[in-house]
């Protein structure tokens, strides 16, 4: 498939090089990533305070792996996703991706190199009713990344779109190509969104709640499709979700966010079986379980989630934490520390 793209693109001097896999298998490395949103007040719209949506976040994703980003609404998980595909400009920090000839700092890309970057990185959005243009045919929508990047002629693009539609389970492709989104069901629309994201053979895809709008009997099909395609095409995912059960099914590693901070990160099964951070523990114990004979203990957590507006320099979870003590109040938010093999947590009390 990647070969086909490069064939189509043979005359393009900016031909994309093979993904370089050095001994280091890390494809995405995020360091000190920060995004502040100003809150403006007064006549002159002065920024008097800031929402710390993403505050000094570090993580990495290995090639071919799927990293889950979980947390409640307002935790900053979607902002991280948008920063990684450069739909938002980071306030600070580095995003290194090993996509092209050399690894580059995505946070600093401009102009042509930014456009080339978009070739390698795609995003799948939550709502397939909002993310597809209702006036454009399926062919127009799915082939758009090809026309933006100037790949192939019409006939080649048609072949490629047909190939992708078949791959996402919309067969026979000819019956779907020239239809409009309103003629398709939610599940089919999300498959279109996946086809559009994968048509340029991206190495890295950010999927933001891709199945949360879908009904259960449809959702599993889309989840299995995304997993199969990842295996087949070697795509690396950042999978953003609020649903821990979905995250468990879809990801190999998991990062838990709370108010702009990653509080715990590790292999998904490990984090779910041995949660270390008190927030992760609370979150896990709040998840309903499809078993009427099981009685869960209530989550051990106080109060409710606040907004990270000019946060006090102490642990972000301090207000709600059952373990909170002096050290958590006197010091700034704790750094992520490795407490077990590849199991990281940011807590003074663990």
């Amino acid at each position: 498939m990647a070969a086909k793209i490069s064939q189509m693109n043979i005359n393009n001097p900016e031909n994309r090089s093979a993904l370089i896999t050095e001994s280091d298998e890390t494809i995405v490395k995020v360091e000190g990533l920060k995004k502040l949103f100003p809150l403006t007040t007064g006549m002159f719209k002065r920024s008097t305070s800031f929402i710390h949506a993403v505050d000094d976040v570090d993580f990495y994703i290995r090639e071919g792996e799927s990293l889950g980003l979980v947390g409640e609404s307002g935790s900053g998980k979607t902002t991280v996703g948008k920063l990684l595909v450069r739909l938002l400009e980071p306030t600070n920090g580095h995003i290194r991706m090993l996509l092209d000839v050399a690894d580059q700092d995505i946070a600093r890309l401009r102009g042509r190199s930014l456009k080339r970057f978009r070739w390698h990185v795609q995003m799948i959005f939550q709502d397939p009713y909002e993310s597809l243009n209702p006036r454009r045919t399926i062919f127009d929508t799915v082939s758009e990344p090809l026309s933006v990047q100037g790949i192939g002629d019409i006939a080649q693009r048609e072949d490629r779109v047909a190939e992708l539609l078949t791959m996402v389970g919309l067969a026979p492709a000819e019956t779907f190509m020239f239809r409009f989104p309103h003629e398709l069901s939610g599940g089919q629309r999300q498959r279109i969104a996946i086809a559009r994201a994968l048509i340029v053979s991206p190495s890295f895809v950010v999927a933001d709640e891709p199945t949360s709008m879908l009904d259960v009997s449809i959702r599993t099909g889309v989840m299995n499709l995304m997993r199969d395609l990842a295996d087949q095409l070697g795509v690396t995912y950042l999978y953003i979700t609020h649903d821990l059960a979905v995250a468990r099914y879809m990801t190999e590693r998991l990062a838990v966010m709370y108010l702009g901070k990653i509080v715990e990160m590790g292999e998904t099964e490990d984090v779910l079986a041995n949660p270390l951070h008190p927030y992760t523990r609370a979150l896990l114990s709040a998840v309903p379980v499809p078993d009427p004979t099981l009685k869960r203990e209530p989550p051990n957590i106080k109060g409710s989630i606040a907004k990270a507006i000019d946060p006090i320099p102490r642990c972000r979870f301090y207000d709600r934490c059952p373990l909170a003590s002096r050290v958590c109040e006197d010091n700034d938010h704790p750094p992520l520390e490795e407490k077990g093999p590849d199991h990281w947590t940011a807590c003074y009390m663990v």
Binding site: T220, N224, D291, P298, I305
Partner: protein, 327 residues
Amino acid sequence: MTDYLLKVEDLTMHYMTRTGEVSAVDNVSFALRKGESMGLVGESGCGKTSIAATLLKLLPENAKVKSGKVLVNGTELLSLSEEEMRSIRWKRISMVFQAAMNSLNPVYKVGDQIIEALENHNMISSNEEARKRVEDLFLLVDLDPKMMDQYPHEYSGGMRQRAVIAMAMACHPDLIIADEPTTALDVIVQDNLLREMTAIQKKLGMSMIYISHDIAVIAEVSDRIGVMYAGRLVEYGSAKQIFKRPLHPYTHGLMSTFPSIVGPKRELKTMPGEPPDLINPPSGCRFHPRCPKAQQICSQQAPEFRDLSGDHYVGCYFPMEVTFDGG
């Protein structure tokens, strides 16, 4: 017989649309005892909200009840006039809607809206009494009584949902229908709210119908579970029965498609196809085009909704024989 609070018999309801008649609720029968909670589970468009709207007679104009009875404490609701129904809503049956923001009027203080509901049902005689009642209700749903003088926009999502629940309970109804009450909320808030609702329901001896697409939520809050598919109730029984031994292939399929954070990680099975268009529903059993056990008869005649094993009803010719082992 007499201990049933709610009895729904052969309820059939259609929506008249420009493209045709939508068979939204077809031949649905179930009964709910006093003090019991029931979960109605199914995918979007399966008719669960339509049933709720029919019970309260809050149907849009293009809806037409074709046949059936809804008995609450022996009173048949469908034949009541709008005026008679008004005295039943809130007082006997009330409802918590999914979008809490839309069920609160943004320009009135939250407390005043609850007082208005109380006044309309002559539940109070003085202003002081009204404020005292609202205070009690706020305490019951774990809201600070001081918040009664604030406006809905000053509440968080979870707090609004609590206020709506307080309002639903204001007139001591026998039955509350909660339509996706926690769907828009985060898990910790959801957990908290569901625990409180269950506790209040038990304490006051109310009956409850929870409507949700989330089988895990339903499993935790319901004594009995009804599974709906394409306008029909396909299975109805106690929560334990249904989870231990789902009889309908759709119920079984639904459970196999649900990921869980407990137990060993397992592969989820995909259900083939998509729910049908209810303008032209499939003949016979509406699930037959997607059913792994379908035979010729399934497409010819709709199966009877029958009691298969001690108060465990199923509408299927070939019910599942295996116990659910997690897929």
